[in-house]
Amino acid sequence: MSTNGFRLPHGGLPHGRLIDRGREISFTFDGRAYQGYHGDTLASALLANGVRVVGRSFKYHRPRGIYGLGSEEPSALVRLRTGARGEPNIRATQVELYDGLVAHSQNNWPSLRWDISSALGLFARFLPAGFYYKTFMWPGKLWPHYENIIRHMAGMGRSPEGLDPDRYEKRHAQCDVLVIGGGPAGLAAALAAAESGQQVWLADEGAQLGGASQGMRGDEGDEAVRKTIATLESLDNVTLLRRTTVFGKYDGQLYGLVERAGDHLASPAIGRPRQILWQLRTKQAVLASGAIERPLIFANNDRPGVMLTTAALGYLRAYAVRPGRRAVIVTNNDSAYEAVRILREGGVEVAAILDHRHMTEQRALPGTETLYNHAVIDTAGRRGLTSVSIARLDVNGDAVPGSERRINCDLLCLSGGFTPSVHLYSQAGGKLTFREDIQSLVPTSQVPGMTVAGAATGNFIPNTAPPIALGRSRRKQFIDLQNDVTAGDVELAAREGYRSVEHVKRYTTLGMGTDQGKTSNLNGIAVLAAALDKPLADVGLTTYRPPYTPVTIGTLAGRDVGTFLAPTRRTPMQACHEQAGAAFVPAGLWQRPHYYPRPGEAMADAVNREVLAVRQNVGIVDVSTLGRIDLHGPDVAEFLNRIYINGFKTLVVGMCRYGVMLRDDGMIFDDGTVARMAESHYIMTTTTANAGPVMAHLEYYLQVVWPDLRVHLTSITDQWAVVAVAGPRARELLDSLDSDVEFANQALPFMAWRGGHIGGIPAQVFRISFSGELAYEIAVGADHGRALWEMLLAAGEAFDVAPYGTEALTTLRTEKGHFVMGPEADGRATADDIGLAAMLSSKKDFVGRRSLRLPGLLPKGRLNLVGLVPADGTSAIPPGAILLDRAVAGPGMDKAGHVATSVFSPSLDKPIALAMVRNGRQRLDQPLWAHSPLDNRIVPVTITGPIFIDPQGERLRA
C-alpha cells in the first residue's frame, strides 16, 4: 500500500499494536480510494494516507482535521456509509475500518476543498455569538426568510434517509460490579472484584481493552495489561463488553449501555443486531473512565494538523501512523516531555517544545528546541498547518513584543493538562471540586454505589499550570471547535451580562455540540473566569447531561418499531373478520371491525345496510373487547353499591343491571352491566377503552379505601369471546341453533342471563341490548369464539344475518340515545348532564356523590345530552360542530354546546346527532346553528330528546 511516509514501516518498534498489517483494507473518503489496515480507525487510516482536511466547521466552514483519538473528537465528523445505512456526524476517530467503507465529508458545498460558505469567514466579525438575537427583527415578515437561511447554514450533516435495514435489541442484566472503562485502572478493579467472587461486568468504548494509553506504557506495562485482560477473559464471573459505551446513570443503580455489536462491519452479521441497548443494574460501579487532554487557546488553533498530544501519540504508537512530519509541542505541564521522546522515536521531527511555564531547570533534549515562557500565538496554513508563530511570555503571560518568530511544522501538539471524565459521576449527583494543582474539577463527594478510580479521580494527572491570560486578538481563538465558539465569544457573553456559566453555554453554544464539550468545557470556564476576574473555582460548571456520547435513536427504540410499536390485541374472532373483508378501526390496542363492505360497496352503504339488518332482521357484532371483570366474595353487592351511582343490592342471581360509575370528582368514569352469576359471584363489563382503568379503580377502592370488604377481582377479558346477536329476528336465529338455553321472553326476559350450551359449547347468554333491539350477548370461552361466530353466521343465513362493525354500532346507539365514554361523557360530564339523574340513588353513598354538591356541578347551566335533527330534515350535521344560538358567529359569543356524535340514521332516513347543550333539556324544539368553520358549514338544527327510536323500549323487551 502507498504510505506517503506517514505509516511507519514494520520494524523493531512496538508501534501499531492495534493494526494487523496482514489485512489490508480498502475504503473511500469523498470518493477517493485509500488503503488501511484491519484495526485502523477511519481517522488513523486517513492520517496514514496523508489526508488532513476531513470536514468543515459548523459556523464559519473552516477546514478541520483530526484533533483527538476517540470520543472526545470535536471536529472530524463524517457521513458514514451510504443509502439507507448512511449516517451523519460520525466521529472518524471511533469508526473501525472495514473493507469497502465509504465516508464523506459534510457541511460543505460544492466540495470539501472548495466550500463556498467558507466565505462567511470574511463576515465573521459581524457574526459574533448570539448575533441572531440582535437583528432580523424588522420587517417582521422577512424573518421566515432569514430563518430559512439560518437553518440551512446550520445543521452539520444530512439526516439519514430510507428505512434502516438494521435491527436493534434491548437486553437487561444484573451484576455485582460494573466497571466503566477498560484502561489499567478499570482492568485492575475488575480483576480485584472478580477474584473476590463477584459477578463483574466491564465495558469499554473501544474495540480493544487497555485504555487510551495503550502502546505508550512501554513493553512491560503493555504486557501486564495484556495478562490482566487474558485472566479476565478466562473467568466465568466476568463479562467483558467491548465497543460498549456506558452512556447514562439512572435510578435504582441502573446504567444504560450501548454495545455497537455490528458497527465495525460493513453490515451486521446475519441475525445479529447492529447495536444493543443494555440496561444493567449493579450493586456497585467503578468509574474508571480516565481523563481527556485539554487543548490550549490561541489564534487559529483549529487548523488541520493541530492535535491533542495524546492523540498524536496514540496514532503513532497504537496505529503506527505519523500524524505529521515536523512537530511543535506546546504545553503547560510535564507530560509533554515524554511525548517529545515518543514522537522522535517514531520518526517525527520535533522542532520545538514550548512550555508556558517559567522554569529554570533546563531539560536538555538534543535536536529539539526547548523554550520556556513561550507560547504559540498564531498558526498558518490554508488547508492544514504549515507553521506556527511563537512568542516569549512576560510575567503576566502576555507576548513580549519583538520576541515573535515562526517555526515551520505540519503538526502542533497541544498539551494543556487533563480533565477527568466524570460525566457519570456527575449524573449520579456527585459534587466536583476544583484542584489548583491540576487545574481540573475532580470528584470529591460520596456517591452511593459508585467508586471513582484511576485518572478520573484526578490522580495520575501531572501538575498543570493555569491557562495563560489571553492576549486580545482579532483572530479567532477557538475553544469549542465543533460549534466554532471562540474566546472572543465567551468574553462578549461576559461583557453583555451572561455571567452564569449556563448563560455562557446557551448564549455562545459552547459545549453543546455532539462532543458535549469534552475538550472545551473547562477551557471555556477558564476564559470566562478570566473575563469575570474570578477564580476558576467560583465560576462553576454546566450540568452533565446524558448520554455520554450520542445514542442511536433506533437503539433506544429497539424492537418497538413498525407494527411492534405497541401490542396489537386481537379478539378470538379476528380471523373471521379478516376473512370477511372487514375494514378495521383502532380502538386502543385493539383492531375492531369498522364495517364489512361487500364488493363494490362504499362505507356509508355498508354501514346503512348493517344498521338496517339489525333494525329489520338480525345482526351480529364482536364485543369481546369490552372489559370483563369477575367479582367474587360475600361483599360484592355492597362494593358495587358503593361503586355505582345506582343500587345493586337488589340484583338477584340470574339477572343483570346496567350501572354508571363516577370518579370521586363527580364525573362519569365508565358504564356497563353487571350480572349476578351466583350468590357471591358477579361479572362486570366495562367499556373497551376503560377496561384497565376500571380494574385499577376497583382495586384502589378495595385495597386502599375499603380494605375490610371481602371481594376478589379477576380480569377475564381475554378469557371470553362475546358476540351480541341483535335484531327482531335474534330469537329466531338463536332458536334455530342446537342449544339447551331457552331464549323465550318468559324464560330469558330482558336483563336476565342464563347458562347453557350452544352447539355443544358452554355459553352464558345475557339478555342485554346496546342497539335498542331484541338482543342477546353470548359469551363463550375464548377458544370457542370462532366456532360460535361461524355457527351464528351459518345459521343466520336463513335470516339474512349481517355481521356489523363499530360504525353501525355507533349509529344504532345514537338512534337509541345511548351515550358513550368519549364523545358524550368526555370526563367532564356528570350523570345529570347525560340525563341519568334518575339513576342517582338517594339511599346510599357512592363514589363521587359528595362532589355533586359542589357549586360547579349543580345541574343549572351545565351541558345536557340532547338530540339534534337538521332543521331542513336532510342536511348532515357536521361532526365536531360547535352549537351557537345564531347563524352568524361573532367574537366572544357564548357557545350553546357542541355536536358529540353525528350520524345518518338509515332507520329514520335522515341525519341525527347527539349533542351536549347548555341547559339543553329545557330547550327542546328550539333552534340552534351547528357551526363547523373547519369545513365552512353552518347547519340549522333543532333540539330534540336524545332518543330517536323506540323511546318506550318495547323493541328490546320484545
Partner: protein
Amino acid sequence: MSHYSLANLVRHGLTGHRGWKPAWRDPAPQAGYDAIIVGGGGHGLASAYYLAKNHGLNNIAVLEKGWLGGGNTGRNTTIVRSNYLLDANAHFYEHGMKLWEGLSRDLNFNVMFSQRGVINLAHSKGQLETFRRRGNAMRLNGIDAELLDRDAVATLVPGMDVSANSRFPVEGGLLQPRGGTARHDAVAWGYARAADRRGVDIIQNCEVTGIRRDQSGVTGVETSRGFIASKRIGLAVAGHSTQLAAMAGLRLPIESHVLQAMVSEPVKPVLDTVVTFGAAHLYVSQSDKGELVMGGDIDGYNSFAQRGNLPVIEHVAACLLALFPQFSRLRILRTWGGIMDMTMDGSPIIGTTPVPGLFLNGGWCYGGFKATPASGWVFAHTMATGQPHALNADLNLNRFHQGRVLDEKGAGPYPWLH
C-alpha cells in the same frame, strides 16, 4: 448605544464588539419594592416587564435563586401554540399568541419566533372528530385551525410515514398554522433586558427562604441576601410553587413531576413543522440549529430531580420512529428533565390567593413556555390591580373549591394523567 439592530451589529463588529453594554444590570437588592416577583424565569421576567410597561410600576424586583431563565424556561421543547378546546384556555393562550407575534420587536430582542405550524396527528376517525370539535371551537374563538386529511398531512410533512402499514396509521390532523417554536433562552433574556431597561431590578443568586406576613397580608420576603420588604409579592416559580406557597402557609392543588426532553445531533433542515403524535405522547420539531427537539410524557411520579429515567426516552424514540422511520440512525445528543407544576386539572393557576398581597402564577403543567407572554401580561394586571384580568378570571385557585375545574383532557384529579 445598545439598541439591537443590524446597523449596530455592523458598527460594533468594526470595533470587535467591545462596545456592547450588559443586557441587564446586576443590582444589589434594595430594602423594599412596590412589588416583588419571585422567580427569574420567563414568567417572572415577563410579569415584571408588563408591570413596568403596562402599569407604570418600576420599583420592582425580580428575585432569582440561581441564574435567570435557569428553570423550565431553559428546559422545554420551545413549542408555542394556542390550540385549546376550553374557552378559558383558548382565550388566554391566543392572547399569548398575539403577543408572541410582535414579541421580538416589542423587546428589541430576536426571540426567533418561528410560525412553522403545529400539527396534532389523528389516528382514527374518532380522534379526528375530537379534533374537529377542538378545531371548530378554536376557529369560533378567533384562532386559526385547519383540519387536514391524510394526503394534506403528507404534503405538509414530507418524509412522514402516513402509510396504512404503520401500527397507528395517520388519518389526518389538526393544524394550527400560526403555532411554532421560539428560542427559549432568548425569551428570558429578551424580557430581562427589556424589563431592566424599564428600571426593574433583576437580582440573581437571591434565594427566597421565607415569606413574611402580618394580619393585613404579606410584608416581604426573607432571602439569602436579607429581608426585602413589599406588600405585593408574586410567585412565578413553577415546579416549586408548592414550596414557596408553603412559606405563606398555603397548600396548592399541585404536584411536582419531572418532564424529560431531548435533542438529536444537528442535521440539515428535514422537518419544517411541529408534529405531535396522536397515538402516544410525542412532540417533535427541528431547532434552527438543526437538532430534532423531542418530548413525551412526564415520567409519572413526584420528583424534584431535574433528571428522568430511560422508559420515557425509549418510548419517545419509538414514537418518533413510528412517524419518521428514517431517523433510526440519527442519534440522541442530550436528554434532560425539568420540574413541572402539575395541577389537578391540567390547567394553570394564575391569580390572587387567600393571602392578601400574595399572587400565584404556576401550575403550568406542560404548557408553561408558550404561555410566557400572556402569563406575564395577566399576572402583571392581577398584581397591579389586585383583580384578575378577564383572561385569567377562570384560571383562579378557587375553581377547585367551586367544582369548576378546567380539565382539558377530562382525566380527573390525577396530575400524572394530564
